[in-house]
Amino acid sequence: MIALRDIRKAYSTEFTRLEVLKGIELTIEDGEYVSIMGSSGSGKSTLLNILGILDDYDSGTYHLDNTLISKDLSQKEAAYYRNRFIGFVFQSFNLLNFKTAQENVALPLYYQKISRKERSDLAMHHLEQVGLAEWATHFPNQLSGGQQQRVAIARALATNPKVILADEPTGALDSKTSHEVMEIFDRVNAEGKTLILVTHEMDIAHRTKRIIHIKDGLILKDGV
């Protein structure tokens, strides 16, 4: 599903050059449930941004579902791949506050030019999957943090992407709601979806089937 070969990324300013990723080699198979761990500054967020085609890389190759994700995609191509291949879940949910739960879930489908009716049906279906069907017409600020994150997961699933990328998905939640969110992730993975989580919480990481430790831009340890 995902194949990274010698991925390197550096941020340069006028005076300094900071190498964030120093040659990442990583293969993730279809249906895997992976967590990426590392301290801040280890490069894990950069790695996730590259995986999510939000950021480009300097050298190496990145294949996603046997498609080469070139390091110099146009913005339009990047948007297309993000929309078709990837579902994002963020630490701070990143829902649009002026849209209802259902509209938020339907938004990625809007960029696929799917008809309005079909969009809201699909969105409703995915809200049911995360147990929020009766909250469909609520706005994010009327939902609890756990509920908002579940809406975000429904949104990530809406386009039936190849892979779900979650950046500290439980970082803003208490342990009880964290648990609820993780249960949904477990179930999504059980249904065969590839899941990659970035986290620094050991107990969250241990629920996944594979843990990748990153330190100073290199994979330190890969396994359970």
Binding site: R82, Y110, Y111, R155, T159
Partner: protein, 416 residues
């Protein structure tokens, strides 16, 4: 671009920031309103001035005679050349581009009907003077060519003359007889000036009869006091005037370099001058109006920049879930054009209503100002303003939209 979702989103942003949107709308509204209002008021001034030209034909010159000031061909200065019927024929044959010639000979005479007798100005005319001056026929008809050919004893009365002789219902005068200096004339029409002004009172009190009848009945022997000459299509009266004058000077033994003797006047030069003045005023109003509008547009651009800044995170989210730069640009541009177009349209509407209201009030209160009359907004200006607004909205949204398209989702989504 024009689907329901885009509009829904625009509507949401507007609803979220009512005051801000209101102020933006006010800027453009005021700009367009001022533009339309000023142009409307300008047209009021213009219409008032051009009304004083009284719908006169402007390709017309008047010719008259006055006493000479130079000796010529043995004649002493101070002689008064007499224009006559033959001069008209000579002009028609020798000057190119002459349309029609409308002569007038005047005589003050006693006009009697029943017990009433008054002295009025009698005008002997051919049929065309009504086309030259700002006159109109209220009842019946004007003097015709046939009246002149047959030297009929018919008369067209000025409105006030008719009122004095026949009472309020002037229409009843038609078919009755008046006596002018002892001769009976059949009344065939009532005429008067189109607008009533101190200087049009003469027209209300005049009596018009066929020129040939006047010559025969009152012994005027071919006399013409003055006449109007029109230019044919494609000829300019300013070019015809000197030819007519020099021809008449030659016919009446007036020195070619005598500034007096034969007088002439054409409206064209004056008309052009006034025209030019108002073109200038109009250009000035456009500049000021567009300046005001521009200030409003800059306001919209500013607000849109703030909108983009505020929505950086939202744009980041949208990009992360698959929004293309084009879709972002299009939504910002649509919003900008929408705000400018709506507020501009409201401004246009308000401008038209205010101008229309002023016009209506003036009409109802019968305000008759020499300086201001019938202000109006013409359709071309209104359409021009709308086109200008759409362009302005696009320009206003362009920089903010480009900025929005450049939003980097990684940076935008970074948690503070």
């Amino acid at each position: 671009m024009f689907n329901r979702d885009t509009w829904q989103e625009i509507w949401m942003t507007i609803k979220q920031h009512k005051l801000r949107t209101f102020l933006t709308v006010l800027g453009v509204f005021w700009g367009v309103f001022m533009l339309i209002f000023m142009l409307g008021m300008g047209s009021g001034l213009e219409n008032a001035v051009f009304r004083d030209f009284g719908n006169r034909a402007t390709n017309i010159m008047y010719v008259w005679s006055s006493s000479t000031s130079l000796p010529y061909q043995g004649y002493q200065p101070g002689r008064f050349p007499r224009l006559n019927f033959d001069d008209l024929e000579a002009i028609k044959q020798q000057v190119k581009g002459v349309g029609f010639i409308a002569p007038r000979t005047r005589l003050d005479a006693k006009v009697v009907h029943g017990e009433t007798a008054e002295t009025y100005e009698i005008r002997g005319e051919l049929s065309q003077m009504i086309k030259v001056e700002a006159l109109k026929v209220y009842h019946g008809r004007y003097i015709s060519d046939l009246d002149n050919d047959e030297s009929r004893k018919v008369a067209v009365l000025g409105t006030r003359t008719a009122e004095v002789l026949f009472g309020r219902n002037v229409g009843e005068a038609i078919g009755q007889y008046v006596t002018i200096n002892g001769a009976e004339f059949l009344v065939v029409g009532i005429f008067g000036p189109r607008v009533i002004k101190p200087w049009t009172e003469d027209d209300q009190e005049a009596v018009v009869i066929p020129l040939t009848t006047m010559h025969r009945t009152f012994g005027m022997d071919g006399r013409v006091h003055y006449f109007a000459v029109s230019a044919q299509e494609g000829y300019r009266i300013a070019q015809i005037e000197p030819q007519v004058r020099s021809l008449l000077k030659a016919r009446h033994h007036v020195a070619p370099n005598d500034p007096r003797g034969i007088g002439g006047f054409n409206l064209e030069a004056e008309f052009q001058q006034v025209r030019g003045l108002f073109d200038g005023i109009s250009a000035f109003l456009w500049i000021v109006g567009i300046g005001t509008l521009l200030a409003g547009i800059v306001g919209v651009s500013n607000i849109m920049l703030i909108v983009v800044k505020e929505r950086t995170k939202e744009i980041g989210i949208r990009k992360a879930i698959g929004a293309t730069p084009a879709s972002i640009i299009s939504s910002i541009l649509t919003e900008s054009i929408f705000i400018t177009a709506v507020s501009g349209y409201l401004g246009l509407l308000a401008g038209v209503l205010v101008i229309g209201g002023i016009n209506l009030l003036m009409e109802q209160a019968s305000v008759d100002s020499q300086m201001f009359y019938n202000p109006e907004v013409n359709l071309g200006i209104a359409i021009g303003a709308m086109v200008l607004l759409t362009i302005a909205g696009t320009v206003a949204g362009l920089i903010p939209a480009m900025m929005a398209a450049r939003v980097n989702p990684v940076v935008a989504l970074k948690d503070e």
